[in-house]
Amino acid sequence: MRYDHDIIVVGAGNGGLAAACRAAGAGYDVAVLEKHNLAGGVASSFVRGRFEFEASLHELCDVGSEDDPGDVRKLFTELDSDARFINEKNLFRAIVTGRDGYDVTLSAGRENFRKSLLKVCPGCEKSLDRLASMLDRTSEALAYNDSKKGKPNKLVMMFKYGKFLISASHSLDDVLRSLGFNSRERSILETYWSYLGVPADELNAFHYFEMLKGYIRHGAGIPLLKSYGLSLSLCDSLLRRGGSIRYNCEVTEFIFDSQKKVIGVRAGGDEYYAKHVISNVIPHNVFGMSGKNNVPEKDRRLLNARKFGMSFICIYLGLDKSAEELGIKDYTVFISHRKTSRLQYDDEENMGFYVVNCLNLAVSEASPEGTCSLFITVPVTNGKLMRGVKPENYYKFKQRIAEKYVDDLCSVLGIDIRENIEEISVATPVTFARYFGSPDGTAYGYRLSGWDGLMARMLSKGTELDIEGLTFCGGHASSGDGFGVSYRSGVEAADEVISKLGGKNDG
């Protein structure tokens, strides 16, 4: 059958849902096509016994409070979502084991952040002052750049915003060194590297600072009904705005006209035509469904030059005692047996780095009374952990890996949860590949490293993947991964499309 809409959104992930809501709000007839039977993509949860496990979200940056809303909260309000969040004031506890290791807890809020860092790193006041000044200058530079609509005066940028130009073009580790932080201080400050998926010596400093600012200002934001609640709140808004979602509807082909403009998609034997298609599906897969002749050569070269972002192994544990009874005290603990983010990234096989997260300590009703859940996230950076995994030993592999990490976290945190595991589930890159269909099971899109870092992507916007009739959004899009960022990329994609189609549709 043939269907006609103003806008087709392929994929009901974070970017896709936000884009669809935004476009429907502007009066367009929007249809979302989702290959699974649930909306949300990564923003999902699942039930085992009496536990509901958050599938992938740990926390959001830039949510803020109702009195002082951050970008993400504002965005959800704009999209007419009734999702509720709470804020966690401790940013994280980070433990690096071994000689010269550390065990630190950093707090949100500018002053508290400073105090908590100085407590464990006395003597870095001056470096911290320089960092604060750099963060402020970056914000001013961005505001100036926006005010000039992305065409700033070069001399002004150089003389007034030199610090911005430095953070925008160097790695996080280099910039922190230039500010005078020693290796221990850098290691602590770089703890969030895993949220962007690239170690500090490859990660664009400016990008990291943009995220860090959000966490320092607002703390972490956590949805009350888990990330799946965010997804359903957007679906709800979309339906109220007159849009529709079709589930179990996998797009298998992008349809181009003779001018190489995207005019629709094929899914399940049906054809869906639209004035514009927004893809929440990663460009690699879209190109794979488009036919070589239809897509620009330079973009194919771009995709071939890119590397994929991280995937994860997630271990979900439902425990039959409360966090208090088990001695679990922290909402987020980053655990590592390696001292620099580079080693943490490279040593995937030997527990280089993982995160332990107890949702109950932020949202007490996250699991039934007298229980708690733990969520262990292991970045999969090079796939060495998965070496030798075959269909026939896959389940054993999952059991082995869970055992290894549970043993390790018990010994590092000095707790014992092994007698209290009531439910257990393990997700791997295979799980991510299964549900997202992303190559290599990447959850972070493209690797934000060096030449493909955030600043390079921002400067190239409009010149890449500029295919007529098609706009991308999501964690693989130009602004990089992260929940908040993906929602924002959806809204931006929709705004771009709305302006192309002639603005608000009052018809």
């Binding site: 509901e52 290796s183 609640g229 039959d320 995994v389 269909p391 390079a456």
Partner: protein, 396 residues
């Protein structure tokens, strides 16, 4: 540390090199078309372990007893299923069968060994009174017929990190099937635990797989028959209860695994409570279609005997009637609407649908929905009973 403290100097000129460097990278990269997804290892594994569907050919059909058949399902290589997907002992597949224009699906535990996953699955199907699908499987399905089954699902499996080293299995009737797979898995070295199986049946001639069970010679596995009527040597008489569990359980901790008819779960739960068994050590298989909602502790009666249901799918709108004691899924099936479903127990979420309007009763015990589903009005039709007229949007 002196070296470490030294501030390095950075040059803002590097900013100007961002774009040239990027363009160089892109120019020097390959112009090849995208590699197919299956060339990436996680994607290839995902396709092998969790295919969307599996095509099978019915192999041997063996009569296990007067009302139960054992089906062997072989991969249908011609249709593209070169090897069946791996599974964990205790998991089930959802089997789709067609009769006339209608398609039905039902979950059946796999009873073959997980070590033989690639070549075959076996399922045992007991004929039930009025059972549409068991009727079709018993009457219509013949050797060499082609069927479609799901990937293996379910969490009635042994987890070394969670479960005790000793499992006391409580099986009732055809509920023996997942245990048969577990026994084979232990024997084949696929699982590492001790299993004492209490197998409850009405009469000795109802016990299935006796050829296999009576010949097991493995120190990790012990079979105890529990017959209500008719005694045999070395068998227990009566039904499985706390006393019997205690008699065969080890002195230290053990897990209790249960699979059987509906009333057996409720019964064993009470017995487990008497024994003070912690919740984590009591594992139940998916119970399947709920037939007696009125026996649920949170049951509340409906005002009417049946209600009008409007089912919206992507291709059609169907009006039908659903009895207050019948699930929305059953009513849809009766009316010829093919709605997605798998476990039929409320837990897998495959039938997840949006309740556009109306009120349903979902028994708390079978309510596998997420918190947000309840807030935003989604139901699992396989365990939702109408309490008003309903408009529901299914995902088909």
């Amino acid at each position: 540390m002196a070296e470490d403290k030294k501030r390095i100097k950075l040059n803002m000129g590097k900013f100007l090199k961002i774009i040239p460097e990027r363009l160089k990278r892109i120019k020097n990269s390959s112009d090849d078309d995208m590699k197919p997804l299956y060339s990436y290892k996680p994607n290839a594994l995902a396709a092998a372990i969790h295919p969307k569907e599996q095509f099978v050919i019915v192999g041997n059909i063996e009569k296990l007893c007067s009302d139960t058949l054992l089906f062997t399902l072989l991969p249908d290589k011609e249709k593209g299923t070169s090897s069946l997907s791996p599974f964990q002992a205790g998991q089930y597949i959802s089997v789709s069968v067609s009769s006339g224009k209608r398609t039905y699906s039902r979950p059946y535990s796999i009873c073959s060994s997980p070590s033989e996953f690639a070549d075959k699955y076996q399922i045992a199907v007991k004929r039930t009174d009025g059972g549409v699908v068991t009727g079709i499987l018993h009457e219509e399905i013949k050797q060499n017929d082609k069927l479609t089954v799901s990937d293996p699902c379910g969490s009635f499996t042994y987890e070394p990190l969670r479960d005790a080293k000793t499992v006391i299995g409580c099986a009732g009737g055809v509920g023996i099937t997942p245990f048969i797979s577990m026994i084979r898995a232990v024997k084949d070295g696929m699982e590492d635990f001790s299993l004492t199986l209490l197998y409850g049946c009405k009469k000795p001639q109802d016990a299935l797989f006796r050829d296999l069970l009576d010949k097991i010679n493995d120190p990790r596995i012990k079979i105890v028959y529990v017959f209500e009527e008719g005694a045999e040597d070395n068998c227990e008489k009566g039904i499985i209860n706390a006393e019997l569990i205690k008699k065969y359980a080890p002195a230290d901790k053990y897990s209790l695994f249960v699979c059987g008819p509906h009333n057996m779960y409720t019964h064993i739960e009470k017995e487990a409570e008497k024994l003070g068994i912690r919740r984590k050590y009591l594992r139940e298989d998916a119970r399947g279609q709920m037939i007696h909602p009125e026996k649920e502790p949170d049951f509340y009666p409906a005002e009417n005997g049946d209600y009008a249901v409007t089912v919206i799918s992507s291709s059609a709108k169907t009006e039908l009637r659903c009895k207050s004691g019948e699930t929305l899924l059953s009513a849809m099936e009766r009316a010829g609407v093919t709605a997605p479903s798998r476990c039929r127990s409320g837990e897998c979420g495959f039938c997840h649908s949006r309740l556009v309007s109306g009120v349903c009763y979902t028994p708390a015990r079978a309510d596998g929905r997420r918190a947000a589903d309840k807030v935003y009005g989604y139901v699992h039709p396989c365990c939702a009973f109408p309490r008003s007229d309903i408009v529901i949007e299914i995902k088909a």
